[in-house]
């Protein structure tokens, strides 16, 4: 087009308003505006994409640790002396597991230390043990190697989420201990340790004494088969350094360790700033180096119900609850929604009444979801006396919320079926009902299904309407039916986000991933239906 105009100009004709300089400038301006708009549009897409990637990568990186759980294998004594096969329910399985763990650390005798040690394994151990024995009585009668889940803090430490574990280096001087247990003195061959302690936040007194308080990094000296935690250091005679320390793991002997035989382990995060003590770290490292700790796929997370202990908490209860709720929602909203749409679109007379109904359906789609929850509380719970926290009520409330979406989508896809189809059917003598059900509805079905699935996906992510009817609750048992108390995935996410224990952070992200997965699957089905079956005219 522009070429044509330009060639006319070259042909000696008078320059028109379409070809003069002002026109060229205008043209340039128009191209510039177009380029700007393209860039802006691309920028908007890039920004949205960036946020999406940011969001997803945060959720995924946070969720990954939750997919695995560390197990500790212990030799558990299930001989008749401990477990009476006739009275399986009366046995304290927790204490049997705790005894097995205590047997690994015979030096731990103080009551508080024993408590710390017991805390390394999950409080759910006894429950797992009881269930497994009930399933396989063959375990009884001797000692079996049994893997128990670790407590959440121990698990988080092993995943590296609780403390910065610093260096582990050989000490290039000799170390002489004064004893093998309790509070002992260590003599270092040179005073290089003093500078090291200063560098790790030791507080220095006027007489040159360095104290390592709980606010400083932990310095652990590992030698002679044991571990000593340094508490204070001072310069000794002849350039040596003398350290006071507490033995965490007993030494084999008081023999001096030659240069290079002892090693220094530094835990950078001060003991006061982490939820796991030096003792627990040493114990866990010992167990780990003995090959007793193993990281496994976290089946607890996927196949159990809620729990107050992060390591025992699972999403299965919420997944089942969501599923039951969605079945009820679909069973109510789909037939009612589609019938309403067919009637309004195909049969209803166009008068003032139907216009009012139409406007109200559109309004209903915009009503805040909490309002549906209040309605559910007033009508279903208080008036009909249905049980609290039950999927049947949740499903009904969500169905009310989804109805307008389904009606609007169904009407749109019914309207998209060309009138020629209807006229042809009526023309060969089909009744109005036959026309709709044999010809129009099948052609509109892909659109209706797409709308329904999107409506359901919307309902799947709702928590607000369920708050009022008691589905925002702590429910451990996995629901077995429509009237059992149940919760749903978004509620589970909301509750985990609110729990104080650090272990729930990863669980929250992992549950978000599962919810996202369900939404993606539902949307993918909607896309496939549209691609495969939708007809265009």
């Amino acid at each position: 087009m522009t070429d044509a105009i330009a060639s006319f100009g070259a042909g000696g004709r008078p320059v028109s308003i379409h070809t003069d300089d002002a026109a060229k400038a205008r043209l340039k301006g128009r191209y510039r505006a177009e380029a700007w708009f393209k860039w802006l549009g691309a920028g908007a897409v890039a920004l949205a994409g960036f946020f999406l990637v940011l969001l997803l990568s945060t959720v995924v990186t946070q969720a990954i640790p939750a997919l695995r759980l560390n197990y500790l294998t212990l030799p558990i004594d299930l001989s008749a002396a401990k477990v009476d096969p006739a009275k399986l329910d009366e046995v304290n399985y927790d204490s049997i597991a705790q005894e097995a763990l205590a047997a690994k650390f015979p030096d731990v005798t103080r009551r508080q230390d024993k408590r710390l040690l017991r805390g390394l394994i999950s409080t759910g151990t006894g429950v797992f043990l009881r269930k497994d024995i009930a399933a396989d009585p063959g375990m009884l009668g001797g000692t079996v190697d049994y893997a128990v889940p670790l407590d959440d803090f121990a698990d988080l430490y092993l995943k590296g989420l609780l403390a910065d574990v610093g260096s582990d280096e050989a000490i290039s001087t000799s170390v002489t201990p004064s004893g093998t247990s309790g509070d002992i003195d260590l003599t270092f061959g040179d005073n290089g340790m003093l500078a090291l302690a200063r560098g790790h936040g030791a507080t220095e007194a006027e007489n040159g004494m360095l104290t390592l308080t709980s606010g400083a990094s932990s310095l652990l000296v590992v030698f002679n088969g044991g571990t000593v935690k340094l508490t204070a250091l001072s310069p000794g005679a002849n350039g040596t350094a003398i350290a006071k320390g507490t033995v965490i793991e007993a030494l084999d002997s008081t023999a001096p360790a030659a240069s290079g035989q002892a090693s220094l382990r530094v835990i950078d995060t001060p003991e006061a700033s982490r939820k796991i003590s030096d003792k627990e770290i040493v114990w866990l490292d010992t167990l780990k180096s003995a090959g007793l700790i193993e990281s496994r796929f976290n089946s607890i997370f996927f196949f159990t119900g809620a729990s107050r202990e992060p390591e025992l908490a699972g999403v299965w209860g919420a997944v089942v609850g969501s599923f039951l709720t969605m079945i009820v929602t679909l069973a109510i909203a789909f037939p009612i929604g589609v019938s309403a749409a067919i009637y309004l679109e195909e049969f209803a007379p166009k008068n003032r009444l139907t216009t009012i109904i139409e406007v109200n359906i559109n309004n209903l789609a915009a009503v805040p979801s909490i309002v549906f929850g209040l309605l559910g509380l007033a009508v279903f719970l208080n008036f009909f006396g249905l049980p609290r926290s039950a999927p049947v009520v949740g499903g009904m409330v969500l169905a009310l919320m989804t109805l307008p979406i389904i009606i609007i989508a169904s009407r749109a896809s019914l309207r998209a079926v060309p009138p020629s189809i209807r006229e042809a059917a009526l023309g060969i003598g089909a009744s109005k009902v036959q026309t709709v059900f044999h010809h129009v509805l099948p052609l509109a079905m892909p659109g209706i299904m797409t709308g329904t699935i999107l409506g359901m996906a919307h309902a799947l992510g709702e928590t607000a309407p369920l708050l009022m009817i008691g589905m925002v609750a702590f429910i451990v048992d996995i629901p077995g039916g429509f009237t059992d108390p149940a919760t749903i995935l978004p509620v589970q996410i909301f509750m985990w986000a609110d729990f104080p224990e650090a272990g729930f952070q990863q669980k929250t992200s992992a549950a978000i991933l599962i919810l996202l997965l369900f939404l993606v699957i539902m949307n993918a089905i909607a896309v496939i239906l549209r691609r495969r079956f939708e007809r265009r005219w």
Binding site: R308, I336, M396, F482, A502
Partner: protein, 334 residues
């Protein structure tokens, strides 16, 4: 027409479902305070694990909301227990009685309310009077009641740092807020403010220095981590669980530690309660087992699992007294 179909089918479904639900409820239902929620859920789970009864369902509705549901009446459709972060009010007790409900009161422990900030921030030692001056809506300056003029902590008291007053705390619907107002603001109220307006003591400033951060205490924790100058007001269990990130501050010279709250030295602590519905004992299975589990030493004792969750146990004598009360199902006002 459409609305008729809708209502009719919903009603039909509701009737069908309620017919299926005629069997008696065999699971305890608990409502109430979000502060007591973490402890009650732990007890519920323990009891469920033991296999004696089905795990109770615990909802977090807030103390006031819980009382409303609890006092609604007697019967399967009403809650069996309610958690409360304060004692039942006289008005609530009256409602309960009017509806034929006899609550059995059980005090389960203490919760401290702490003022904390990120470990990166400064450590301060505050008095209740300073907190009042920093956060009250109206304060007395030179004998006159004026809207709170203080911008920096150093304006309140020269010994405090010259950083902006920025405190994240719970909204008025929260039991934590009620307790904070009662224990700090009312306790340290200036005479002039009280004289000017009877309710003026409990009013917290709304000019941005105090930010209502919502019921989610974890959110406050995250915001504090991000902003070293901000302080937060929340329950002790969140400080306890986040001891690696946050530091609590002394109030009136006492540090918010487990021991100090348990001994009563720390001034900003409140009692936590659960209320059982006496009429449901023997009707809903597991009522007595639940009470027995909650009041067992293994749960609420100093070494019990609730202490691990951040509940501060009652002194021995009080525990014995409340356990006795609970065992005897001593109803209130009867």
């Amino acid at each position: 027409m459409n609305k008729f179909i809708l209502t009719a089918s919903a009603a039909a479904l509701a009737l069908a479902a309620s017919a299926g639900y005629a069997a008696a409820r065999d699971q305890i239902q608990i409502v109430g305070s979000s502060t007591v929620f973490p402890f009650t859920t732990a007890v519920a789970e323990k009891l469920g694990q033991s296999g004696k009864i089905k795990t109770p369902v615990v909802e977090s509705t807030g103390t006031g909301g819980g009382m409303k549901l609890f006092c609604q009446g007697v019967g399967e459709n009403t809650a069996d227990f309610t958690n409360a972060s304060r004692a039942i009010k006289d008005s609530e007790l009256e409602t309960c009685k009017a509806n034929g409900v006899t609550p059995v009161e059980i005090k389960v422990g203490f919760d401290g309310i702490v003022l904390a900030n990120s470990k990166a921030g400064t450590v301060v030692d505050l008095t209740k009077e300073q907190i009042f001056k920093a956060l009250a809506k109206n304060v007395a300056v030179d004998g006159k009641v004026v809207p709170n003029p203080y911008v920096n902590w150093s304006d309140v008291d020269a010994s405090l740092p010259a950083t902006k007053i920025e405190v994240l705390g719970p909204p008025p619907t929260s039991g934590t807020r009620d307790a904070f107002v009662e224990l700090v603001m009312d306790a340290a109220c200036q005479e002039e403010v009280k004289a000017a307006n009877e309710k003026g003591c409990g009013e917290i400033r709304e000019d941005g220095a105090f930010v209502e951060a919502g019921e989610n205490d974890n959110l406050i924790v995250q915001k504090l981590e991000a902003n070293a100058n901000a302080f937060g007001v929340f329950g002790f269990s969140f400080l306890d669980q986040n001891a690696d990130k946050l530091q609590g501050h002394k109030i009136d010279g006492v540090e918010p530690t487990f021991e100090n709250i348990a001994s009563g030295d720390y001034g900003v602590s409140r009692s936590l309660y659960i209320y059982a519905k006496k009429e449901h004992v023997g009707v809903i299975p597991g009522m007595q087992e639940f009470i027995a589990e909650y009041t067992s030493e293994g749960a609420w004792g100093p070494d019990g699992y609730l202490a691990d969750k951040g509940l501060i146990p009652l002194p021995d004598a009080e525990r014995a007294k409340w356990a006795e009360n609970a065992k005897a199902l001593k109803g209130m006002g009867s």
